[in-house]
Symmetry: C2
Subunit: 334 residues, 2 copies
C-alpha cells in the first residue's frame, strides 16, 4: 500500500507538505503543489482515512438508528439524511434496533467509542436518564419523534394540529360519528394524534364515544382487526381517522370485506403518506409529513452540534399537509 511518505519521497518534499497539499492546498507554493499532485497521481495514492481520523479524532460518520428497517415511513427521512450527509462529506451508518431497547444501548457504544461523530434517532426507547446523559455528552438529534419535557434537539411535525386537520376534514364532509384507531399510546406521537382527534371533535361539539377510540399497533393487521370490532357495533362509525396509513389500509380492507364501499359508505383518513398510499385502491387521503426535509434538517442540526455551533432552538416543528385523494370522497355533504 502506497502511503504518504512514498509520495513525499517521489516529490522530494516532506510528508507535512503532502498533507498540506491534500488539506490546505492554498498554503503550498504552486510549483511544489503540482509536483506533489503529480506524485500522488503517478502512485495512485489514496490517503489512509483511518490514520487521519485517529489523528484528528473525528470520523465523518454519523449513525442513524432505526427501530425497524422494513418500515417505509422511515425511508424518506433516511433519504434526506443521506443526501445532506454526503453533501457534507459525511457517511451514514445504519443501525437497526428491531425495536429492542438492548440494541439501542449497543449502538450507543459506537458513539461513546468515537466511531461516529453523532447520531440521529428515530424514536428513543431507552431510559430517559440515559438518553439525557447521552445528549449532554454527544451530538444527538431525535427525528419524527420527541420526548415530552426533555430538551433534546428534535425534528418533527405538530402531530396534534395535523390530526385536527385530518379529522376536521372528515367533519366538514358531514361526518359526526368518527372513530379513531390510534397507535400504541406509549409513543408521544400516538398520544398527540389522539389529542388532535379529540380537539377537532370537541371543537365541533361532537361527543367522543370511548368505544370509537381503539388502540392499534401501527400495523395493517391491527387496523383490520380494530375495524372489524368497530363494524360490530350497533351504530358503527361512518368515518375513520387512522393514526397511520398501514392501519388505514387495514381498515379499508375490513370494510370492503363487509361489503362497504369506501368512500361512499365509509370515509377513511390515514397518516404518513407512505409511497403506497397513492397506489392503494382507493387512494388514501392522508397527512403528509415532509420527510425528505425532516431528514435534511435533522442532519443539519446534527452537523451544527458536531461543529460546535450554538443551537438556538431544540425543537423544530415542520408543516404537514393534508393530501386529499379518494378515500374520503370529494364533495361536501351533510
Amino acid at each position: 500500500m502506497v502511503k504518504m511518505s512514498d509520495v513525499a519521497k517521489l516529490a522530494n518534499v516532506s510528508t507535512a507538505t503532502v498533507s498540506r497539499v491534500l488539506r490546505f492546498p492554498e498554503t503550498v507554493k504552486e510549483e511544489t503543489r503540482l509536483k506533489v499532485l503529480k506524485a500522488i497521481d503517478d502512485l495512485e495514492y489514496q490517503p489512509n482515512i483511518l490514520a487521519r481520523q485517529l489523528r484528528r479524532n473525528e470520523t465523518n460518520t454519523i449513525l442513524v438508528v432505526v427501530p425497524n428497517i422494513m418500515n417505509t415511513v422511515f425511508l424518506g427521512i433516511i433519504e434526506g439524511i443521506e443526501a445532506e450527509a454526503s453533501k457534507n462529506n459525511y457517511k451514514v451508518l445504519l443501525g437497526n434496533t428491531n425495536n429492542e431497547v438492548d440494541n439501542e444501548y449497543g449502538l450507543i457504544d459506537l458513539l461513546k467509542q468515537k466511531q461516529t461523530d453523532g447520531m440521529i434517532l428515530f424514536s428513543a426507547r431507552m431510559e430517559r436518564k440515559r438518553l439525557l446523559e447521552l445528549c449532554e455528552n454527544h451530538p444527538v438529534v431525535l427525528t419524527m419523534d420527541y420526548i415530552d419535557g426533555l430538551k433534546i434537539p428534535s425534528v418533527s411535525i405538530d402531530n396534534i394540529s395535523s390530526s385536527r386537520k385530518a379529522v376536521q376534514h372528515l367533519i366538514s364532509l358531514g361526518h359526526t360519528r368518527i372513530a379513531h384507531i390510534s397507535g400504541p399510546f406509549k409513543y408521544a406521537s400516538s398520544k398527540d394524534r389522539y389529542k388532535g382527534y379529540e380537539q377537532a371533535m370537541l371543537h365541533n361539539d361532537l361527543k367522543i364515544d370511548s368505544m370509537l377510540v381503539q388502540e392499534g399497533l401501527f400495523t395493517f393487521e391491527s387496523g383490520y382487526n380494530k375495524m372489524l370490532k368497530l363494524l360490530a357495533m350497533e351504530h358503527p362509525p361512518t368515518a375513520i381517522f387512522a393514526a397511520n396509513d398501514e392501519m388505514a389500509m387495514g381498515v379499508i380492507k375490513a370494510a370492503k370485506e363487509r361489503g362497504l364501499n369506501v368512500p361512499n359508505d365509509l370515509a377513511v383518513v390515514g397518516f404518513d403518506n407512505i409511497s403506497f398510499s397513492s397506489i392503494f385502491d382507493p387512494a388514501l387521503t392522508t397527512i403528509a409529513q415532509p420527510v425528505y426535509k425532516m431528514g435534511e434538517l435533522s442532519m443539519r442540526l446534527l452537523l451544527d452540534q458536531i461543529r460546535g455551533n450554538s443551537q438556538m432552538k431544540s425543537q423544530y416543528i415542520l408543516e404537514s399537509d393534508l393530501v386529499i385523494r379518494e378515500s374520503c370522497g370529494g364533495r361536501e355533504t351533510s
Copy 2:
C-alpha cells in the same frame, strides 16, 4: 478521555495486558484479569476503536450500495445483511447512488481508502473493466443482480425459471393470450425474466406476439401506461406477467379503470413480493425472492472473502417461490 494506559496504570499492569484482557481474556491469569476489569469499570474505559482499526488495518465495516433507498425491494435484503453483519460484529454503511454511476465511483473510494472492509452491490452500473478490477483487489459481492459472463461473487435467484413458473401458472389457468411487461432490458434480470416468459410460452406451443411484450421501467406508472397500451389492442391479452410488483399494481389500476375485474376479466402475476403485495386489492400473485436469506448469504460470502477463506462458487442461486394470492383467480379453468 481515558485511555488504555490509564487503565494499565490503575491496575498496575502494562498496556499489553490490558489489550489482552480485552481481546484474548483466556491468555491472562484470572487474578490479573479481574484487576484489569475492575480498573476498566472504575474508569468507565471505552477503547478507541479507531486506533485499533488503524493498528489492525481493518474497520469491521462494510458498505452496502443501493441504487435507490426508496425502493422497498431492497429493504428485505438490507435487513438480512444487517442482521448477519451485526451478528459478526460488523457495521453497515449505507450508500445511495440515486442511480448515478458517478456516485458509484465515489462510493468505491471508501473501499480503496480502507474505510470499509468490503462492499455489497445491488446492481453495478459501472464499467465492466473497473468492476472486475475492483473485485480482484477487494472483497465485493453482487446481490439480487449478476453480470453476464463476469466471475464475480453474486447472490440471486434464477430469474429465468422463476418467470417460467409464473407464466406457466397463467397458462395452467387456461390463458393463452399472455402479455409481458418487462423491466428495462439493460438489466440482466429483465432480460432473464423475459426469457422465462418466452420459454414458458414456446414450451406450451403459444405464439409470442411482439405487441404483447412491452418494456416498462419497473415503476407503477410505467405498468399503468403499458397496460393502457395493451388494452387498446384489437385483441387485448387476458393475462399479464409483470416483471415486478409495482408494475403489476399499475396494470391492475389501469384495468380497473377500464371496468375490468381482476382476476375475473384479467389475470395478473407480479414479481418480487414486496410487502404491499399482500395488502393490495386484489392481493398479488407473485414470485417471492428469499430476500432475507439473500441478504444473509451475501454478507456471509463477503465475510468469507474478507477473512480470506477460499471461495468455491462465485454464483449463488437461491430458490424463489410462486406465491398464489388473488390476482390470477384460483381455480384451474380452460
